[in-house]
Amino acid sequence: MSLTDLRHGQCATITAIPDEYLRVQLLRFGITCGSEIRCHCKLPLGPVVLKFGSQEIAMGREIARMVSVQANR
């Protein structure tokens, strides 16, 4: 599943970021494969806002779709 499939408040672990450029951009924020994030909120058809540690990060839907995650129980 991808980031856009998460529900509000759901925690997940990043499993894959196929796009190289995106991978590096996210690394800047500290997010890599294996990082645990929480879906803070999703705007309808719009960006996904993640909580990562104390940071809140907004990602456009197009790129959020490209990030694969595994939901945590």
Partner: protein
Amino acid sequence: MSHSCCAAAVCEAPGKRKIVLVGNPNVGKSIFFSSWSGMYADVSNFPGTTVEISSGKIGEDVLLDTPGVYGVSSFNDEERVARDVILTADLVVNVVDATHLERDLFLTLQLVDMGIPMVVAMNFCDDAENLGIRIDSRKLEELLGVPVIPTAAVKNRGLKEVFAALPLARPGLSHPEVDQAVTRLLDRIDTRPEALMVLEGDVVVAERHGVAPENERERIYMLRRQRANEVVAATVIRPERAARLRDMLGQLCLHPVSGLVILLGVLWGCYQLIGVWVAGDIVGLTEETIMQGHWEPWIRGLIEPVIAESSILGQILIGEFGVLTMTITYLLGLLLPLVIGFYVALSILEDSGYLPRLATFVDRMMTAIGLNGRAVIPMILGLGCVQLGTITTRILGSKRERTIATSIINFVVPCSAQLGVIFGMLAAVGFTLSMTYAGVIFACLAIVGTVLNKFLPGRSSALLIDLPPMRLPRLTNVLRKTVIRTFFFMKEAYIWFFAGSLGVSLLQVTGGLKAWQDLVSPLTVNWLSLPAEASTAFVMGMVRRDFGAAGLTDLALSPWQVVVSLVVITLFVPCIASLMILFKERGVKEAMAVWVGAWVLAFSVGGILAQIVL
């Protein structure tokens, strides 16, 4: 850990050193800059607004400010500029946000790996305290190997201490693996920073040394990330439940329903502040009472005995469009209060943390026209002055986005001086008609954007930003930013005003104005159903947009005529000053396309509307 670079990188004797301020966007670098160098730099909390490098002097040394960046590389304009400045630095002052160390330390560690002598200024310590975050700066200093000084720059605390610590600047403790890899390259590349860049795969730096870039970036970034996490774990204590209210407020701004309510509330607030209070009451005082009531009679009285008003020179100086009368009245009586009001509003939006959330909220709509949420910033700045909006489009990620945003700003977005007059005129015609005007303008924005998005080649970049915590804007900071930005804008804009009014005066004196008016008149009267004098306003609008809008206020127009004329003047060609910037930023072809297109757009839409309602 490595000490190999310490002996070599002894600081040169003070004097002629290049001291560079580096840090993430939003950390307060500019405050350090203006405080130390005594010079003003543009201050903004939103990523990417400083795309130029400010330079000043402290004593014999040169102080350089860089754009806010998350890392040093070749990824985008800001990082490229920052990279090049940092590579020539003798000393780096890394400003970090104490409330966001886990993010900011990434850049710090990269600078440490580069081996440049540095000092860390840990800013926003007052905010951290309020949030209950405790940071062990001694331990941080120990782990990084460089001086770490807590500051609260907005309150003016810590700035002197950081300055005093500059002589203690030293290269930090680099990650051993990275250090090893860098040292390996030193036989081919003479300096550590450049070697690190090559290691991380920087093509440009590699070319400069005639070597192939290496491919270690991801590995190094991972190591750095891990190290940042370890350092934070060892030095930062966060309370369990921090700032719930702010969190909730932030979430409300993003929710589709409450977010819209908040947005409308913010728009209403801005309208009250700028449209009603400043444009109405304040300008009434400054423009009419002070300037027209006192200044103009005084300057006329001064010049008249020497140069008759009816003479050509007299016309140019103190005539109807006189350089000394109308222009100065507009600059000080109309433009200045409006620009101040506008910047106050923008600074509040930035400082409160609302602006990035606004960008997130509108991202969906922006992607429909080939932009992303970040483009809302140049558009908002375009409302201040179209020139400023055009320049700010540089923060956008691709040429395609810059073209689309620039076109929209120049075609559709009205600037603040115009806005004041427009709001005033709309207030007189009531809510429904105002909404019709707004609706037509938005429709044009959507159409221009959609068409360009469809036909321009390439792909636009997506939104990827961090949302700072919501803060209560501090009055001193808002005022400080307003003063600086107003100063810079007036400094840039005033000369175009004088040029513009000179142009209009010459046109009037030579009969050129009447000629243009006669040319445009049939179109204005027949197609737009407006009085012939409106064409004078439109013609003046070519030279300076606000002259155009203001020219309309003097005419007797029915409410619908007001709407039609406002639609035309809003969609009309950019003023001469904006056109110059357009030539410079986008090139001749695009600039001319916009100019001609604006004529067509303004008269077509205005005409169609007129046919329907008049």
